[in-house]
């Protein structure tokens, strides 16, 4: 693990600022061209519903009339959270690394879905507490051995926060350079719904009680305790919604920062990003707070059953595409949604037109 000097901090921050500045504005002209083609295809006007919206937006993101979304990758970023010292999770911290091993051996839900749907999974250690150096096929980008306990002070220092964002940007650039055309977000980190609820409360100005849920399976008493811990973290850190890097540093997580960077970097490279569930959407909200133009590059995969998700979805300006009462994370919702997005672009690319198929059009 590299030492994070003040110089490195400045270097990381400069890379983050550059990515923020590079996110383009979508052009209506491309959207209109897509709609024109959609209306020529052999189906009643608009009858493919949200699949048509998806296809038109992908055209505008890629600035290609026949965009290809078949090279699909999900980044599942893993990190630990110091706030687990407060007893905010139903599972012990050791599970973060155990699940990383499960991801690498192909036994987790995300692996099963990605095998089925033709998606590659890249598992990233961006802040697992314990050593992972001997694990093969793991992308090793450990920024710190987990965050510090946000109930006592900032979860990260500024250097760690910027470095984690930078890691995400690097991964997005690598993905773009290797021809990836659709990126999904995923995460694993015992304790990370606590960080995501804290971010949600700050960015959306909602009461902590309304944006805090069971996570992996707390009972009512557990949820009350989690609320109390988050309220303490907010009182100690004074996160300022007008200063998103400070919010991220105070009550975020290394995987959340990494995903925020991935989203910024992906948008800067014109890659559509499929945002998984509650924790991923917290990362997307940080990215949107840093650069509102990011919103148009996002597809919200699904409506998580965590209570804070709705407010975050509103914040990022995206309506979820699926609602299957899932609350697993890892990228599982993103995986299902990526196949929908690929379906939408294939319909645009491969369907016959009324004239090519010799099908009569509707009477005016």
């Amino acid at each position: 693990m590299r030492a994070l000097s003040a110089n490195k901090e400045n270097e990381s921050e400069a890379i983050v600022r550059e990515a923020i500045a590079s996110v383009p504005l979508l052009r209506k002209e491309w959207h209109d061209r897509a709609v024109q083609r959609l209306n020529s295809l052999t189906k009643p006007l608009g009858s493919l519903g949200r699949l048509e919206e998806i296809a038109a937006r992908v055209v505008a993101i890629r600035e290609e009339l026949r965009p290809d979304c078949s090279s699909k990758v999900i980044f599942t970023m893993a990190a630990d959270h110091g706030v687990t010292d407060e007893g905010v999770s139903a599972y012990p911290k050791a599970v973060t690394r155990q699940m990383v091993v499960n991801f690498l051996s192909g036994g987790a839900a995300i692996n099963v879905l990605c095998r089925h749907l033709g998606i590659d999974v890249t598992v990233v250690d961006i802040g697992v507490e314990v050593d992972t150096s001997e694990l093969p096929d793991l992308v090793k980008k450990k920024v710190a051995h987990g965050t510090r306990n946000m109930a006592h002070g900032p979860a990260m220092n500024a250097a760690e926060m910027y470095r984690a964002l930078e890691v995400g940007i690097e991964l997005a650039n690598d993905a773009a350079d290797s021809g990836r055309t659709l990126i999904g977000t995923g995460e694993m980190g015992i304790g990370n719904t606590t960080a995501a609820s804290a971010i949600t409360a700050v960015l959306t100005d909602m009461p902590v009680t309304q944006v805090t849920g069971p996570g992996t399976g707390l009972d009512q008493a557990g949820i009350r305790h989690k609320v109390e811990v988050i309220e303490r973290a907010l009182a100690v850190n004074h996160p300022n919604p007008l200063d998103p890097p400070q919010v991220l540093q105070a009550v975020g997580g290394l995987e959340i920062a990494g995903l925020a960077g991935l989203i910024l970097g992906g948008a800067a490279r014109r890659i559509p990003i499929v945002v998984d569930g509650f924790i991923s959407t917290a990362a997307a909200a940080i990215a949107c707070a840093l650069q509102p133009r990011v919103r148009d590059f996002l597809f919200a995969a699904h409506r998580s059953s965590e209570p804070g998700h709705e407010a975050l979805l509103k914040f990022i300006g995206q309506a979820p595409l699926l609602d299957l009462q899932m609350r697993l994370g890892e990228g599982t919702g993103a995986a299902l949604c990526m196949s929908l997005i690929e379906s939408a672009t294939k319909l645009l690319n491969e369907m016959a037109t009324f004239s090519s198929a010799g099908v009569s059009e509707a009477s005016a």
Copy 2:
């Protein structure tokens, strides 16, 4: 096309009665065994939401602990409707055959989705008005050259109605015999939302105005006219909700009868059936009216934007899995949903357990 004699009518009716009697009752014991396994997999309890419900129900349908849903087929049944003489569709009747040609050459939405998702499409002429004898790869099961105009009398005679149900049962049996493990419904027939709305009004006892929509694209005046035509058909035919075959015969369609038969036959052979949109759900409602045990074999693919769909979904007792504002038919919603069902069963079959993966369980 065979002549439909009184003998043939009795023979078809006997086959339909046999299929109705053969639909088994699902056993709770299999559902419970599936839940037990789902709870042992490396994920928080219940965190895969509706995917877990799906997997458990497929286990109970198949009576197999590791059900395979990979051999997937959609039957897209095409037929014409005499009621189009009343001007109830935005498209001319010729489009039914034109779209059959489009299905056979791979240019329709259903083809694109099925190629993407690994589903076979079987296109069936069960009642296209014009000749299709020269079309290759079409399954030729024409029962009649379209239905008669329901605004003047019954759409079918009893022999045609039973024969169309029988065709669906035959196709389900062929599918079962060739190892199919997941069946989707699809249809094409200019005018068929008129028949589906009429069936909906009768079976759910809703006013025609509340269950009639734009179909392929009527304007408000067109919808008012369609309502008036359906009300006339109901007044002329007196369909009786307690006599489902009479409802089907009076105001149904040949593809709707075929799909109802496919659903009955599939359930009788323990194959899960994915019901597409509005017209397919009208067929499913007829099947459920004939045999309420069919309900447990159905998965409602999506919520169509046709206004009558909600009442039909309630009638068949299934909540839709997708809500993408689609209203195309052909089987397009079913195709997307079949991939979800395959995902659900693969998760059940392929995920590691807490003990096999060495992952710690939640604290009690």
